[in-house]
Every structure is written in C-alpha cells, then in structure tokens.
Symmetry: C2
Subunit: 302 residues, 2 copies
C-alpha cells in the first residue's frame, strides 16, 4: 500500500510536475490533485493531464489530501501554506521540496501551527522549468534529505520517507542547519558562480557575446546550463540561505585568490597539485553513482 492515498502538489513547476508524474508512474491508485498560483500553469497542467484534478484555489486543492507537498520557491512558502491552512484536513501531513531548510521550517511552523510538518529536499533537477519540464525518473537514485523538527511525529516522517522511496529516491536525515551548509557548497555556491561567470562573459567589450557562445565548448557551455536555472527559485535560495552562502563564498574567494597568486608568480607545482587532487573527486562522484559515468556527461557526438 502506498503511504498516502490522496496527494496534493502545490506548485506545478519542474519538481512539482515530476512528483506528479512519479506518483502516476509508481503509486497506482493514489489520488492526485494539483494547484499552481499561475492560471496559465494550471491550464497547461490540465491540458497535459498532469493530475486527476487541477484545483482553482489552494484551499480547494487540499480539502481531502492526506499529503500536501509545497513545490514553490522557498521565499513564497509561508504565504503558499497560509493560503490553504484553513482548509487542511486535521490528519494531513505537509511537506515541501525547498533547497534550504532552516527558513522553510520556520515559515511552515508559523503558517501551519499544530500541523505534522516533514520538510524534504530531493537533490535533483535540470535547467528546465514549468509543468512540461518534469519527468517521473528525475528522482531515481538521487538523495532526498528529510529535515523533520525534533518533535515531529515519527510515523509521519516514516510515511514521507516511504513516499520518496517509491519515487525512486534514497533517504537521508539531517538537521536543517547542517543541510543548509552542505547544500550551500554542493548546490548554492556552484549556481552562484555559474551565474556570475556567465554574466561576466556577457559583459566584456573586447570579446563579443557571439564569440563567447561560438567557442563555449571550451568549458563555458557547462556553466550556461546551471545559469539557465529558474531565476525566482534561485533568487529565493540565496536570500533564504544567506549566511551559509556568504560563508562558502568567502572561502571560495580566498582559494581563488591563492590560485590567482600562484598563476601570477608562476608557481606551476601548486597548480599541478590542486588539479591532481580535484581529478580524484570526479572519480568518487562517478563511483557513487552521482553522475553519468560516460565521458562529457554522455553528450551526443554527432
């Protein structure tokens, strides 16, 4: 038996629509209701048959749910929860998929006092957005981190864990604060740097934008993928996980200065040592099944 029988997804972007498709693919018989604040997204969701039902308000969407998953930008999560708070069945569990967890836990507890809250973060995604971007396999063999409050109902935590296992994910438990520091380095800082370099490259005078794009296969193109991620989602992540991001950024800047100095003073051995060390990290990522084992991410060559 699936751990929940009526699931409501609030926010039908990449993650929300992937959850919807995952429920359809892996949890036969489970009722599926969707809602999105954007009427156009609701229309698209209806047109492609993403859920059994797409409601016209958040309240209407949750009335008979036993699991509600908020898949909205982290800065909007409190307001989104307040929208359906009055209509939420007493025994419903509320979860989310936000990329930072301390701010989310606070916002959800404020918006939904007395409700069983089990925050979650599936570490998965692509550069695409919207209800048509999702796919059921997105969470397969990816980690989903749960950050339940200390006083969370163990049964609710177990059911949310089981839900994500059925979507194909592996489960890990973490304190919200530790989650936010781990993700600051494995996700938020990489995005920040990618956004920056794509901006820097676009602003040069003597190298034209068309040259930057033309010769992007030298490495730059990898960064453009990450820098194509959803602007609203990422604005909110940086503002919500400010302290951890700024701290990681500080460390990165120090390391970059050291490398800058090594280049300026021709310290080849220092460069070589770092580049050898970083090479080993890639091997571990592949060994642990966290990336495509094929070269070049499996990019098509002719």
């Amino acid at each position: 038996m699936p751990p929940f029988s009526r699931v409501t997804v609030i926010g039908l972007g990449l993650i929300g629509s992937s959850i919807a498709r995952g429920v359809r693919a892996h949890m036969t018989g489970v009722g599926l209701t969707g809602y999105d604040a954007d009427p156009q997204v609701r229309e698209t969701a209806k047109a492609i048959g993403l859920c059994d039902d797409v409601a016209d308000s958040a309240g209407a969407a949750v009335t008979d749910a036993d699991l509600v998953i908020l898949c909205v930008p982290v800065g909007a999560i409190g307001d989104a929860a307040r929208e359906f708070a009055e209509d939420l069945p007493a025994d419903a569990v509320v979860s989310d998929v936000g990329s930072c967890k301390e701010s989310v836990v606070t916002a959800l507890r404020e918006a939904l006092p007395g409700v069983a809250i089990v925050p979650a973060h599936p570490v998965a995604g692509t550069e695409r957005s919207g209800p048509e971007a999702g796919f059921a396999q997105l969470f397969h063999n990816r980690w989903c981190i749960l950050t339940p409050p200390a006083d969370a109902d163990p049964l609710a935590v177990e059911r949310v864990a089981e839900f994500w296992k059925r979507l194909g994910a592996d489960i890990e438990m973490m304190e919200p604060a530790h989650h936010d520091r781990v993700l600051a380095v494995t996700s938020h800082l990489p995005h920040l740097i990618a956004y920056t370099i794509v901006g820097t490259a676009s602003d040069l005078e003597e190298v034209t934008s068309s040259e930057v794009i033309k010769y992007s296969a030298g490495g730059f193109r990898d960064f453009t993928r990450i820098a194509a991620s959803d602007p609203t989602m990422w604005r909110d992540v940086f503002l919500s996980n400010r302290e951890a991001v700024l701290d990681m950024l500080q460390r990165f800047s120090e390391d970059l200065s050291a490398l800058q100095r090594a280049i300026r003073w021709g310290k080849g051995e220092e460069l070589f040592d770092l580049f050898t060390r970083t090479r080993a990290v890639r091997r571990s990522v592949i060994e642990q099944g966290q990336d495509d084992a094929r070269e070049d991410f499996g990019r098509a060559h002719d």
Copy 2:
C-alpha cells in the same frame, strides 16, 4: 584528395589520438605516424593500432611527413619541436592544437626557423586523457581556430584548414592575441573556477568530503567534470596565458563581489535580473549547436 598524404602526430593523448582516429575515419590512404615522449603511451598506441607506425623518437616520426601536428602541453611545445627540427622535411607544414596561441607561435618560430607554421586550436575536448580517450567524432561541428602569422604561406594555411574540415570542424581565423583573450573567458577561466570550487569543497571541515560527493547532483558534479581535466595541460595553459587569465579573473572577482553584496543586503531584484539575463545565454549556446540540446546535457536518467 586529402590536403596531406603523410601525417605525423606528436603527443598521443586525448587530442592527438582523436586526430589519429579522425584521419583513419575521414582520410583514407593518408599515412599516419605517431610519437609520444612517454614509452608507455607509445606501447598502448601500438597495442590498439592507433597509427600505421609508432616511432621511437620524434626525429624518426617526422622524416617523411608533410604535416606534423604537435599535441603536447603548451609549455612543452618548444622542446618537442626542437627534438625533431633537424629531421623535418623542408616542405613539411607544422601545426599544433594548443589552447593558447601567442606563446605557442613564439615557441614554434624560435624552435623551427624557416618552417611553414600554421598554429591551430580545435575547441573540443572531454575530461579524459590518454591514447585510449580519443574518438574520431570529437571535432565534428566544433570550431577549429587557426592563428597563422602574418607572413604565413597562404597555401599551407589553406591545407591545414582543409585538414580540419575533413575532421569535421568549422574553421575560423584569428590573431593569436585575440584568440588568447577569447579563450581566456570561454575556456581558461571556467576551468580555473571549476578547479577552485572543487578544491574549496574538499577542504571544508564541517561538511565532509563524502557529503560533498553524495549531494553533488545539486550542481557541484558539473564542476567536477571540468576539474578532472589533465593537470599538466592546464597548469601550462594558465602559466602560458597568464595576463589574459588574470585579467578575466579580475573581472569575474569584481562581479562576484557585487553579487555577494546583493545577497548580503537582500537585493533580490538585482539577483533576479542577472539570473534572467544569463538564462538567455544558454538558449543561444543551444541554438548555435554548441551544446547538446537535450536537458541536463543528455545525462542518463534511470
């Protein structure tokens, strides 16, 4: 008729072995000799039948060549050229594949006075190294930039251009100094940043290396691919293209500081505007055929 009838490849790593395979695939009847300074690489090249002949010295490798292509790290290019200078036929054309061109042009002109030199840079690669890493399709639909000196023989330039076209590449001509500034932003800076962040992430105390790898699908894993590139090659690139790299790095650091400030002071609009602008760059990269049009680089899911 192919533009050259006897091609010698010096340096049988990723690029050299891809050229060898490309000649085999696209230029039937062309003689192919290989040489590598590393005896083990020569053994492997022989074992896998990479060339018609693998010579035991650079001199022996070039004696009847009409095209010699140096595929060695840019810091080694002068010495590698001197090794065969005396044995080079008078009418042979010498080219290379180095990622920076001002230093290469200088080194080759010094090492090979009076020789027809046509420097080239195919903007293509993967994170793998060695004679077994190459494949014939690597250059298909990629740009190959030629940076011939002002006094270069136009026929030699035309023949090298034709050679690369047969390997599947599109040709562009550039001044060496401009090439070095363009590639500093589209290739060298991205590599430097990727190496740095992978180093930064490995050095944290409170976030373990195993956590960094485990949750790398949040974005970090993209950087590990680039940071797995050949350490010797990249050490040489940064030292050889020092001024352009340091200048681009300076601009990047300024932009990163501005973003840092925007996060610290909660300037969401500034972040949103940049993230929207960078998203458009990805679209151009795809439209111009410079990356896999599939989401997530075409990574396998499931």
